[in-house]
């Protein structure tokens, strides 16, 4: 068989032309990025981005349907260009996946090329736009004329088109602000992540109470000379409760008694106390070689000194457990008199008008005694469109799975 090598730009165009085209697009993207000093791309906000996206979608669809037999259009909506653009997006994502993003570097060459904010830069925007055009063209040919066997293709590709385009074009309308509020006070100023200038919100948040629940405390051995915490022999995190045992080289510890919430009492014996004020106390028996002793140890708090047990030049300490859950009881209120009382908790955001409120953080130094709660408020008008895309992709995938199995059964 004689292998005939295609010459450059011999029709129909295939991978070589597509790869060159993608490389040129990337090159231009980086040139524009460099020329604008790595400022990235500033997208317009509603309604202009929605108008731009609609015009783009109509343009792609009409070109696809009006010129479906033109070789250049066929190539532009074909798999070779699609694959090369996927490789282009992958290369940019690879940069974004390896180098830390968001770090501001001085006016160096990498900074001017925008490689530390690759996903908001010109090369990425350009390649994604071309990819959307490619995807849109191929979609137009499956949409008209409509056939039932194309439903899987349409759901997956249209879903991806909608999710990707709305996520990219809508990114300028995403608002994420942090509202710090103290117990018994209300806040209506939101701070953007990257600036100190607050924005006035169309509502206020009143914090009734912030509460935090911890996992049980843990036993550790502290070496003040090397400033190191030593894990016990079994390398397991030891939760302190009555009967817990732990061992380090030559040191055996048994927890004789445990009070999750207590305050120091007379004669060094702690007394049970209310959860809001008390701290965990444990009575431990320490056996080293032939000697044996007992001691009360505690985690301490911002106002109480922790109690540790000294063992020659080491200390047996009890550290507070990691946070299990934290929540803010709040009232959210707008100027029209709409008010909502809610418990904000991680993973349980609350909707108010077109905003979503999240429990974000607290004063970590104060731990469970924090009087401050950080609430993140987010508005993303494009979310329903992106979710529509997600659900279409999933529906398309279920069909893909199904038809994949059926085809295989026919084949076998």
């Amino acid at each position: 068989m004689v292998v005939v090598r295609r010459r450059w730009f011999q029709t129909p165009w295939e991978f070589r032309e597509s790869a060159l085209f993608t490389a040129v697009a990337l090159f231009f993207g980086f040139v524009i990025e460099y020329a604008t000093s790595g400022g990235g791309i500033a997208l317009p906000r509603l309604p202009f981005n929605a108008i731009a996206l609609s015009v783009f979608a109509i343009l792609v669809l009409s070109i696809g349907l009006g010129f479906r037999n033109t070789p250049a259009v066929k190539w532009f909506g074909g798999i070779p260009l699609g694959l090369c653009l996927i490789v282009g997006i992958s290369l940019l994502s690879l940069i974004g996946g390896i180098l830390p993003q968001g770090t501001v570097v001085s006016a160096s060459l990498p900074a001017r090329l925008g490689i530390h904010k690759i996903f908001s830069g010109w090369p990425f925007a350009l390649v994604v736009l071309l990819f959307l055009a490619n995807l849109g063209l191929s979609l137009s040919w499956r949409l008209v004329p409509f056939k039932v066997q194309n439903v899987q293709f349409i759901l997956f590709h249209a879903g991806f088109w909608i999710a990707l385009s709305c996520a990219v074009f809508g990114s300028s309308d995403l608002q994420r602000l942090i509202v710090p509020v103290e117990e018994g006070k209300s806040g209506s100023l939101g701070y953007p992540m990257e600036s100190d200038t607050p924005l006035q919100l169309p509502f206020s948040v009143f914090l009734h109470d912030f509460s935090l629940e911890e996992y049980p405390p843990q036993l550790l051995l502290y070496d003040p000379h090397s400033d190191k915490l030593m894990m016990n022999k079994s390398k397991a995190t030891l939760e302190v409760r009555k009967g817990t045992t732990a061992s380090w080289n030559g040191i055996e510890v048994l927890v004789l008694d445990y009070m999750p919430s207590a305050l120091p009492g007379e004669g060094g014996i702690p007394q049970p106390a209310d959860r809001s004020a008390g701290i965990p106390f444990a009575k431990v028996r320490i056996i080293t070689g032939t000697t044996q002793r007992e001691a009360w140890i505690s985690t301490g708090s911002p106002t109480l000194r922790p109690d540790a047990a000294q063992l020659e030049n080491l200390y047996l300490i009890m550290v507070p457990g990691t946070p299990k859950s934290f929540r803010s009881a709040v009232t959210v209120q707008d100027n029209q008199g709409n008010a909502v009382m809610a418990n904000l908790e991680v993973n349980k955001p609350v909707n108010f008008n077109d905003w979503k409120l999240y429990q974000m953080g607290y004063d970590e130094k104060a731990g469970r005694w924090s009087k401050l709660s950080l609430i993140e408020v987010i508005r993303d008008p494009w979310l329903p469109a992106v979710y529509l895309g997600f659900f279409m992709i999933m529906a398309g995938n279920i069909l893909f799975f199904w038809t994949g199995i059926k085809r295989k059964e026919v084949a076998s």
Binding site: I79, G96, A167, S234, K324, N347, L383, G404
Partner: protein, 265 residues
């Protein structure tokens, strides 16, 4: 704790090893085939039993640390091998799968990880289990696809045609891709509830997107009728991207701000 794991792991590896041995010997002595299969299967049953016991002990699904996810791979990868044998009568895949599972268990025995019951608030979500399980099964299928492709490459180099093997690696990649898509979208839906936005280009997200793109590229190349023999190389190597995504991310410079770095302490 670690003693229990070592016992379970050694029993499982012993089952797989004897099963493999009997399976290989059954070429000459067919009577050994059934005990070989039973023993191979028993290895996975031991691991599944251990996971169930560990889950009960921890009071949370053992899906949080890298070591814990390796337990699941070790239990599930051989099952894919058995399923492929059952469905397509291809016997060799299960040996690779059992070897891979044994390898995962050995890593866990050499690096016993901290046994920690705590689950940080962001992970306490109804999305946690579906997101991780879908990904896990997806990775298992893609690992099997990659191993099949590697075997196909080996056969090619010895100039042996292998149409069934190529359709197996393709079909596993297809299934894996479907699950990766679900995992990615479940992750996005969860992220919206827990961290406020569905997509933030967190390094793990970026790498998950990259691995998804790698298989998206494969499916389109397949659709464009690129030679299957060339695509076997692609499938064999595509799993490397998944490996970076799975645990390589922790070692990349970009990982410093990730919410996905598994606890190593």
């Amino acid at each position: 704790m670690s003693i229990d794991f070592n016992t379970a792991a050694i029993v499982a590896i012993a089952c797989w090893a004897t099963g493999t041995l009997l399976g290989l010997l059954s070429v000459r002595t067919p009577a050994l085939k059934l005990p070989g299969m039973v023993l191979s299967l028993a290895g996975s049953v031991v691991m599944i039993g251990f996971i169930a016991y560990y889950w009960a002990l921890l009071d949370r699904p053992p899906l949080r640390t890298l070591g814990e996810t390796r337990l699941w791979y070790a239990a599930l990868i051989p099952l894919v091998g058995f399923l492929v044998e059952y469905r397509w009568k291809i016997g060799w895949l299960k040996y690779y799968c059992m070897a891979l599972a044994g390898f995962f268990l050995c890593i866990n025995m050499l690096h016993p990880e901290v046994f920690d019951k705590t689950l940080m608030p962001a992970l306490q979500s109804p999305w946690f289990i579906p997101h991780v399980v879908v990904y896990l099964v997806g990775y298992v299928l893609l690992a099997a696809s990659s191993v099949t492709a590697l075997h196909n490459v080996y056969l090619q180099l010895r100039s042996k045609g292998n149409v069934t093997g190529e359709s197996v690696s393709h079909y596993l990649a297809l299934l894996g891709f479907v699950l990766l898509s679900f995992g990615l979208i479940f992750g996005a839906l969860w992220a919206k509830e827990a961290w406020g936005h569905y997509w933030t280009w967190d390094p793990k997200e970026t790498w998950a997107f990259l691995s998804w793109l790698a298989y998206l590229g494969y499916l389109h190349a397949y659709r464009y009728k690129i030679e299957q023999s060339k695509l076997q190389w692609y499938l064999a190597l595509a799993f490397l991207v998944l490996l970076v995504c799975w645990f390589g991310v922790n070692y990349l410079p970009s990982a410093q701000n990730s919410v996905h770095t598994y606890t190593q302490s």
